[in-house]
């Protein structure tokens, strides 16, 4: 019984992490029609950033670190978007390729800067003691992580549905040219959304550190998961990213625990099923 | 049990299509006889091209039936309808701009031939195809440009190539979506006479805005507005009808 509970919680916390990772990816794809292959690297940058700073300054608050990493990664993303991506507006394939190139650059840079060994990230002190609920013991940090994901989801929902910025973003997702025609500054919006997506990924990377550790190849492990979540949940849909993240979190966790060698196949079965019967994903719109 | 009606080239039965709350096709029913020259008119947004898209299979209706020579093609993919003799031109130019005119028409011919699956003989070795393509270009008066890339010819000439491609397959039903759009007066009369000379074996259904020119070519007219058929029948009857004037003049 304890096994199922623990794996269940692990699934939830992985799902939460995946949401932090893929919500940005989904947003960027939805608005900019760009498959941002750098996204895994942005996440990894956050994890390394968290690992290095939290180990160096043990008194640092993980939340502050996450926020800081989020801004730092957002800034890097913004520079990349302004300097490189905007020059390739007419070349969507080129855009994807430079994001791929950028991911290689970032991942190798991490290797050069911080070496090839895996760097574990300490769980924050005040969250190290386990929580007892109904006689079961849960690692507190993982519970908190789920809370973070829900918080981020609520925050993003508010942003998209209740603010002017969100309205502009949604307009841009629905009909880019029309949005431009009514005076919405679409290219500034692109930069904002790219920074937002990158930033969430970076912050998510820090928060994922205690569970995943920072290691070279983290980006290559995370990116396909983000892709599968977005393919499953539907492009441009936050709800889809949310639901998809938890579905994948469960499948991956239980799959890895029960059939470690075949976890990848189990992961891609729901993706195949969804693509076969609903190519636009569970919540995506046809013709996205 | 309705008996099959092979004397109808195209039958549309109670067709409906909506995008969310917007109804673009509302209970449209049409019956077009073999060899007929039908003109479909209506103001912008009346749903004419949407109707064409459903007939050609580029769009699926929400309900209703489309029958081509008695065969229910409602769920058929566009390429299958082409094999039943349906051909169409588009409002925007959809030619292969980097290729020569001859290559464009050759592709048009290839679409219905089994040799389109052939992977080991170069296309250029098919002399018969090339000959037929050049002949088709000749009938539209463009043989002298056969070896020019499409990107280098004038707009009016491109429209004629579109027509050539559609005619090359000797279709049984031809859908022409605004064939005269954007043409100068001389080009217009050239294309008009081309359409007039299409053999009777081909049923022609045309969408046009330029009523003066198009009406000469039409035998029957269907007036659409807001996705519905308003008036439908012989040309002169439709023109004289009150409702036609209402739609166009708001009187």
């Amino acid at each position: 019984m304890q096994f199922w509970i623990i794996q269940g919680l692990n699934s939830l916390s992985l799902g939460g992490l995946l949401f932090l990772l893929s919500s940005g990816f989904s947003l960027i794809f939805g608005l900019m029609r760009l498959a941002n292959l750098t996204h895994g690297a942005f996440f990894m940058l956050g994890t390394y950033f968290g690992a290095i700073t939290l180990r160096a300054y043990s008194g640092l608050n993980i939340w502050v670190t996450a926020l800081g990493a989020g801004f730092a990664v957002a800034a890097i993303g913004g520079l990349f978007e302004r300097l490189v991506l905007t020059r390739l507006k007419t070349n969507p394939l080129g855009q994807v390729l430079v994001t791929l190139g950028m991911s290689f650059i970032i991942s190798d840079a991490c290797l050069v800067l911080w070496g090839g060994d895996s760097i574990p990230v300490p769980t924050p002190h005040n969250l190290q003691a386990p929580t007892r609920v109904l006689g079961f013991v849960f690692p507190t940090y993982r519970l908190v992580l789920v809370g973070c994901a829900i918080g981020a989801a609520i925050g993003l929902y508010f942003l998209m549905e209740r603010t002017r910025l969100g309205a502009m973003i949604r307009a841009g997702v629905d009909d880019r040219q029309m949005a431009r025609a009514v005076g919405i500054p679409v290219s500034n919006l692109f930069t904002i959304v790219f920074c937002l997506g990158a930033g969430i990924a970076g912050a998510g990377g820090v928060l994922g550190g205690p569970i995943l550790s920072a290691y070279p190849g983290l980006d290559a492990d995370m990116l396909p998961l983000a892709l599968i979540v977005v393919i499953l949940g539907g492009i441009g849909s936050l709800l889809g990213a949310f639901v998809g993240s938890f579905i994948i979190g469960f499948i991956y966790t239980f799959g890895s625990a029960l059939f470690p060698e075949l976890a990848y196949i189990i992961l891609f079965l729901p993706m195949i099923v969804v693509i076969a019967f609903r190519p636009q994903g569970l919540f995506g719109r046809v013709g996205a | 049990m309705t008996p099959p009606t092979p004397n109808y080239a195209l039958e549309i039965i109670d067709l409906n299509k909506a995008f969310g709350g917007l109804k673009v096709t509302q209970s449209i029913s049409l019956a077009i006889r073999l060899g007929e020259r039908r003109l479909i008119i209506g103001p912008n947004g009346a749903g004419k091209t949407t109707l064409f898209n459903q007939i050609s299979g580029d769009m699926r209706p929400n309900s209703g039936q489309i029958k081509l020579f008695g065969t229910d093609v409602t769920t058929f993919a566009p390429y299958r309808r082409a094999h039943l003799g349906l051909s169409r031109t588009y409002q925007i130019i959809t030619l292969f701009t980097g290729d020569t005119l001859e290559h464009n028409v050759t592709l048009g011919l290839l679409g219905l031939l089994p040799s389109r699956w052939q992977m080991w003989r170069p296309l250029s070795s098919y002399d018969v195809l090339a000959g037929e393509a050049r002949q088709t270009l000749d009938t539209v008066g463009l043989l002298h440009l056969a070896d020019h890339p499409v990107s280098e010819i004038a707009y009016g000439e491109k429209r004629r190539v579109e027509l050539a491609m559609a005619l090359a397959q000797k279709p049984r039903v031809l859908l022409l979506d605004e064939p005269l759009a954007g043409l100068s007066n001389t080009e217009r009369s050239t294309v008009k006479s081309l359409i007039a000379s299409i053999p009777r074996e081909t049923t022609v259904i045309m969408i046009e805005h330029d009523m003066d020119t198009a009406l000469d070519l039409a035998e029957t007219v269907t007036l659409l507005n807001y996705g519905r058929v308003i008036v439908d029948g012989e040309r002169d009857v439709v023109i004289a009808d009150e409702r036609t004037r209402e739609v166009y003049l708001g009187a």
Binding site: M102, L262 | L112
Partner: protein, 311 residues
């Protein structure tokens, strides 16, 4: 003029082992293998308009099947090769069915996801694939009893296969099917209205590209006598895509030129720089920003301009 150049090139290629040392002959073999791989990808990218980031799957699966059958199950190279290619074709058929439910970026993402899943399997299923250790100690085949262990012998073998590949692809591309493929790339709606079946055309091309990817995979494992999951990785797919884009996807020669450049760069750069991935990324950025149509078209445009200039 063109004939003289072609004849000279052919002579150079044929006679290379007589005037170059083993190091260069081996380099040339690697270039030939990379060229076949890039050419197979370009059937999809350049001629089919389908950009895939998962093409290394076909190189890798053929290599692994051959490696396993010969080293662990005692198969001869001939039967092993046939089974490898059959397996590769089956996988391409399956992956193609999934990936072609989408086009454009959706297609790209699905091919990437599928190939990463395959890579993950190769890494994790260590009792089958030996995981991160790879499978070593493999042998080269002996067609008609001729040993391919010497650099020169293997080089000529690769040259024959590469020439055959180039020839068959040239025929494919200029055939009626090839023309219909290019048509579907340019105007899919128009092609469907003309009676062509766009999905089937794309799918057949996908499988054919997978077939040649598998062939390059066999050559790859024969050359290296070793196979490791990195050959299935996104980096491997990305190198091929870079070759196609750098050389120019609109011609048959482009990917060959691109593959040559990427391989030479990889070889020489690794002597000075440890981080090949970073360099690869920077080259990607450079090519896309500065020469988006690739070298071969850029070069032929330059030649055309020079010829038109008055003397």
């Amino acid at each position: 003029m063109k004939w003289v150049a072609t004849a000279l090139l052919a002579a150079l290629l044929l006679l290379l082992p007589f005037f170059a040392g083993d190091f260069y002959i081996n380099l040339a073999s690697q270039i030939l293998i990379a060229a076949i791989f890039a050419l197979s990808l370009n059937l999809l990218v350049g001629f089919g308009g389908m950009t895939s980031l998962g093409h290394a799957s076909y190189l890798g699966i053929a290599a692994y099947i051959s490696a396993l059958l010969t080293s662990r199950y005692g198969f001869g190279h001939g039967p092993a090769a046939i089974i490898s290619i059959a397996g590769t074709i089956a996988m391409a058929a399956f992956f193609g069915t999934i990936a072609l439910r989408a086009t454009g970026l959706g297609f790209l993402m699905i091919t990437l996801a599928l190939s990463q899943v395959l890579w993950g399997l190769a890494y994790r299923m260590s009792d089958v694939t030996n995981g991160d250790n790879g499978i070593a100690g493999l042998t080269r085949p002996t067609p008609f009893g001729i040993s391919l262990d010497s650099a020169a012998a293997f080089y000529w073998f690769s040259l024959i296969v590469a020439s055959l590949a180039l020839l068959m692809m040239a025929i494919f591309v200029s055939s009626s099917f090839g023309s219909s493929l290019k048509g579907v790339r340019d105007q899919p709606r128009r092609m469907a209205a003309l009676g062509f079946n766009p999905w089937m055309i794309r799918w057949i091309t996908f499988v054919y590209a997978g077939f040649w990817g598998g062939i390059s995979g066999l050559l790859y494992v024969y050359y290296n006598k070793y196979i490791h999951p990195t050959s299935l990785s996104t980096t491997s797919s990305a190198e091929a895509l870079l070759s196609v884009i750098a050389g120019g996807s609109s011609t048959l020669g482009g990917p060959v030129v691109g593959a040559t450049l990427v391989l030479l760069l990889k070889n020489y750069a690794s002597a000075y720089i440890e981080r090949w991935n970073m360099l690869l990324g920077l080259v990607f950025l450079f090519i896309v920003l500065v020469m988006p149509t690739g070298i071969v078209p850029g070069f032929s445009k330059l030649m055309a301009r020079l010829r038109r200039q008055p003397r």
